[in-house]
Subunit: 69 residues, 6 copies
Amino acid sequence: MKYGARNQLIGRVKGIKQGTLMSQVTLEIPANSQMSSVMTLDSLEELGIKEGDKVQIIVKAVNVLLAKD
Amino acid sequence: MKYGARNQLIGRVKGIKQGTLMSQVTLEIPANSQMSSVMTLDSLEELGIKEGDKVQIIVKAVNVLLAKD
Amino acid sequence: MKYGARNQLIGRVKGIKQGTLMSQVTLEIPANSQMSSVMTLDSLEELGIKEGDKVQIIVKAVNVLLAKD
Amino acid sequence: MKYGARNQLIGRVKGIKQGTLMSQVTLEIPANSQMSSVMTLDSLEELGIKEGDKVQIIVKAVNVLLAKD
Amino acid sequence: MKYGARNQLIGRVKGIKQGTLMSQVTLEIPANSQMSSVMTLDSLEELGIKEGDKVQIIVKAVNVLLAKD
Amino acid sequence: MKYGARNQLIGRVKGIKQGTLMSQVTLEIPANSQMSSVMTLDSLEELGIKEGDKVQIIVKAVNVLLAKD
């Protein structure tokens, strides 16, 4: 599968928190870094992931903000 | 500085492409991974970054999509 | 492939416009409706699409705005 | 009303789920397709929609991701 | 018209820059503040705005990042 | 700190609502206007804000929608 997005990383599911409507997935990426994704519970269920699963992390470049001091 | 975003990584500017109105910044993050940010040329100028600079990469978790096969 | 996004439609590439850095892809979806995606030229090239190709259209529900009069 | 967004579809409200802070609206669009929008409960209330209502669905093209296999 | 978004401001078009594919609209909001919107040239044309026009500025709350030192 | 974003306003925290997983922060900006940000409870905690605090509001221009009648 190919994606029209500049940011494509591989991560491992480290934790899943379920809210009333939304869910938050914490991911381990290489070099001990961490990322997170928020999606609906419906999407989480459809995605069918559990702790330890390998997932693709996709972010469009327009949604990446840079800061510098 | 603290940010209300789940994804905060440190990257190094690897390349900058300037279009007519927009610009695209390629970033090296640990473990030989790569990320990209697209912003206006005005924002690029205000940010004042050049190749090799260390920058903060910020992405809100709602803008992170997960995929799994 | 499964996606952590509520909006997943199938479309056909109807037109591709290339700018200096960005590109704009127009898509036909069923019932004579039309959608569009903007991505970098780099992402367009990596995606490798051409007119007539069938593609998956993915939008996270948080990026969908509703209006009503 | 005119919008500065490439994606403008007409949908009908099929279901509304209310969480603690957020809400999720499911929409029917032509050809038996379905879309969803996530917004705050405050926005849902202000929008004042109920099942069966016709609404305008607006998505900026930069938030549309394409995938192809 | 009602919108499912928490951020709705009124602005006046102060400047329009046209790129090859994208455009950038600068807006004056009360108290001498300034905002900007980036959209495709196609959307700009459809919107039909010119300097001095009053426009509605809409931003979903999930796309608003807070920072604090 | 410098940001690669066209929209940077200063606001004062007026109210914080906490959901199960997400939170919603209402902000006062000059001229009696109001903005809102939605983030995870984790991000809210990390940000460490309370009513009355001055915060920086950052929005990328691609996430700003214009409407005109």
